[in-house]
Structures are given as C-alpha cells and as structure tokens.
Symmetry: C2
C-alpha cells in the first residue's frame, strides 16, 4: 500500500561569482537541506550560478516551474553585483517596483545617511509579498513559490524560519536509521541489494569512511514510514556476520 501523502519538492538556487571562483565557501545549503528534511520536504536539485541576470532568470523560471518551492540565496544586497531581484522579476515577466514599506524601513534605519544604494534594497518584483514573523521583523521577499534569501550566512539563518514556515506540519517527516560496519562497500553490495529489493519505500544509503579505525562504511535507512525503515534496518542487521555491527556513533 502506498502512503497517502504527496511528497512536496524543493530546489535551491545559490547565486554569486564568489562561490564559483572559490573565494567564499558556500555555507547556506546544508542549513536549508537539514531544515527541509526535518519538514519532510524533498530537496531535489541545487544549482549554483554567477551574478548574471539572464542566467539567474532562466534558472528561476525552470526551477520554480518544476518544484513546489524554490529558495534563492544571494544577490539581494545594494551593489551592482546584486541582481537577484531583477532576475526573478524577469523570470516572472513582471517589473521591478520600489516597495514603500521597505523604503520606509530603510529610511528609518539609516536616517540621514540613507543613500540611493541603500534604497536599492527596497526594490522587489511587482506582485511579490513581504513576509515577516514575530521573531524576524525585517521582511523577506516572496513571489509565488520563490523565496529570496540573502547570501550572508548569519542573515540566511535568521530568515530561513520565515521562508519555511508554510511548509510546517504538512508531510510525515523523514526518519533515518544508521548502522556502522567494518565491512567495505564491495563486501556489503550483496546484503544491500537484498534489502533494497525487499523495501522499495526505504532509501538505503552507503557511505564509506576514509581511514577511520572505528568503521569502514555507514549504512543509512531513510523513509517516512518508521516501521518499514526499522524493518529494513533489522533485516540488514540480521544478515551481518559475527562481530558486526560496530557501535552507533550518532553521526548525523
């Protein structure tokens, strides 16, 4: 019998020359991925592109159309290389408009120091909404199923709860079990094939660890049906030779 929920999907678009040139190590994806996982949302695809309006607009169009939600990271600041708002507007075929609400907030914040540069951050795609929560009063721009998050890791983390709030409470969350063994992946192949064939609803992963004296391979069992996930793990455990598994290390 198949589960009654419909899996919600998501994609991420990570924007910035600095990520592709290796100047800055991307740091937001892991936070988004873990949050979506907790919410039972399937993050299907991540794309990283440079600060190019046409390229970003093309990706936004394609990713927003093929996933339930799209989260962008980066390119929302006030300088010439911040082109995400323009690109998202182009993807949706709308103009860029200045939000009087954002403009008022920016003027209140910067006072007499306010420059046209600062006000650039008051621009948004026409038809977008400004989303806030009790905890995060500075608005996050959303248009249809696309959330525009900032690239600065600290601010991305602050705003993420607002952008993922509509996803709360929808799906059965994923459950995950792990088994650690000193067998290598080649040895495990046959045992894994058996459990994969017997439990089609369970995602079985196999992750070799490089030169760790405690174990060679971590096997994971993931799914939304905890009873099936546990059953898959137990069948696998019962197939292991004496001396296995190794102690649970509780790594992720």
């Amino acid at each position: 019998m198949y589960a009654s929920w419909v899996t919600r999907t998501a994609a991420a678009l990570l924007i910035g020359n600095e990520l592709l040139s290796g100047k800055v190590a991307e740091a937001n994806l892991i936070v988004l991925a873990r949050r979506l996982r907790t919410l039972g949302v399937d993050l299907r695809r991540v794309v990283m592109v440079q600060d190019d309006v046409e390229v970003i607009a093309g990706e936004v169009r394609s990713l927003a159309a093929s996933h339930d939600w799209l989260f962008t990271s980066g390119g929302v600041g006030p300088t010439h290389d911040d082109v995400t708002v323009i690109a998202v507007a182009r993807a949706f075929g709308v103009e860029v408009v200045r939000s009087s609400e954002l403009e008022a907030m920016i003027r209140a914040h910067y006072g007499e120091r306010t420059t046209e540069g600062h006000l650039w951050m008051a621009d948004m795609p026409k038809g977008a909404s400004l989303e806030v929560s009790d905890e995060v009063r500075w608005p996050t721009i959303r248009i249809e199923n696309v959330w525009l998050l900032p690239g600065i890791p600290e601010v991305f983390r602050m705003k993420l709860p607002v952008a993922t709030r509509p996803l709360e409470g929808g799906d059965a969350p994923f459950v995950s079990r792990a088994v650690y063994t000193k067998m290598d992946e080649g040895d495990l192949r046959r045992l894994l094939d058996r459990v994969v064939a017997a439990f089609p609803g369970v995602d079985v992963g196999s992750y070799p660890k490089w030169m760790d004296p405690r174990y060679k391979t971590k096997i994971t069992f993931d799914g939304r049906d905890a009873a099936k996930v546990d059953a898959a793990r137990d069948v696998f455990l019962s197939d292991l030779p004496p001396g296995e598994p190794q102690p649970d290390l509780g790594e992720g």
Copy 2:
C-alpha cells in the same frame, strides 16, 4: 583591446542523496573551484542532484555540451546507489563495459576477498579512458570532456590533480586584489558603479561581513590583466574618504 586568450569554461555535477538530504555537507566543490581558478578556468555552473540515473544522464549531457570540461563528484563506488558510470554511459549513448585493466587492479588489491561488488568498480562507459599520473596510479575515468571523480573528499583531493592536468598552462591565470572598508554596501554603491563602468574587463565583487569589528565590506577586483585589475583597485582607493581603507586582512 581585447585579450587574446579564449576563456575555458567548466561545470561541476555533485551527485548524492546524502548531499541533498543534509546528511553530509558537500566538501569537494571549494577544492575544485579554487583549483580551476588557479588554472584560469571559469567555473560557470554547479548542479547537485540525487542518485537517479535519468536525472544524472540528462545533466551530464547538457553540462558537457555547454562547457569545455565537466567534473562529476560522487556515485562511483560499488553499491546500488552508485550510478554515475551507468548515467554517464547513457548520456553519451554508449554501453557500460568492464575494464580488464581495472579488474586486474581490483583483483590484485583484494585478492581472494574480491567480490562482484568490488568488480562493479571496474565498469566504465565504453570508449572511456583511464587516466593516471606518476603520483596517482589508481585510474580516474574520463570520457570525452567528462571526468568521473569520487565523492569521498580525501580521494577527490588525491585524484583532482590528474583530472585538471590537461588544463595546466593554458590561460592567463586570474589575479585578485582585495580592499577592506568600514563603509557599508549602500555607501559604497556609487563608488563601485563608477569603477565597474570604467573597467569592463575587471570583475568587481562586494562582500559584506556580519558583525566584524575590523571591517564591514570587502571589495574584490578580479581579472586576467594584472595591470587593469590594479588600476581598478587604485581608482577605487583614490575615491575612498579619509580613514579608509582598513588594513588588508589577507582573507582569501
């Protein structure tokens, strides 16, 4: 006058359910990006997908056709979720064949313990070549402009020099200069617009730092022509108000 070199481009395809579920933090991209930067190669696009043969094959086809080189990371081990070889073969419309050379190496390594699981790692797309160097004797699979690198970070790092060797010595490398300031991006907007307009061959980046007492924004100047890069930086420096810039922190 335009430069005489032709920019070589690259893409990366990062493969694995564990990356998208947040179980494992992706760790290979930054190493690849920095290496390509050093070689003067423009890394244009990065895509991350799950362990799905059709999805991977589609991305390989598209990314290999639109970039000079494609580097894949992950999915080359011996278990059911390692489908990169199958997917790359499908992308090129060729069969998967067992390499007698790889099979002999695997049998020599595992001896009597060799399983069909281990030998799965001897499979490659028909027509692929096995690339080695004096330092890295275990072969890396390449087919046309696509290099199949492993996901395990330590092994990825060992093999990367082999996969990027053909790129050595081709282009003028990028040079990069940085200026640190306590101005915020809104204040800098006008100064940056001026230097961006005056130096079309120089990529000017602006990166705000969150709550760092030493500076607020790092400005970078990148390009292949060191004289132009320096000139852009110098024009920017001459526009800064008294008290700026801040000391060079030498961060990346």
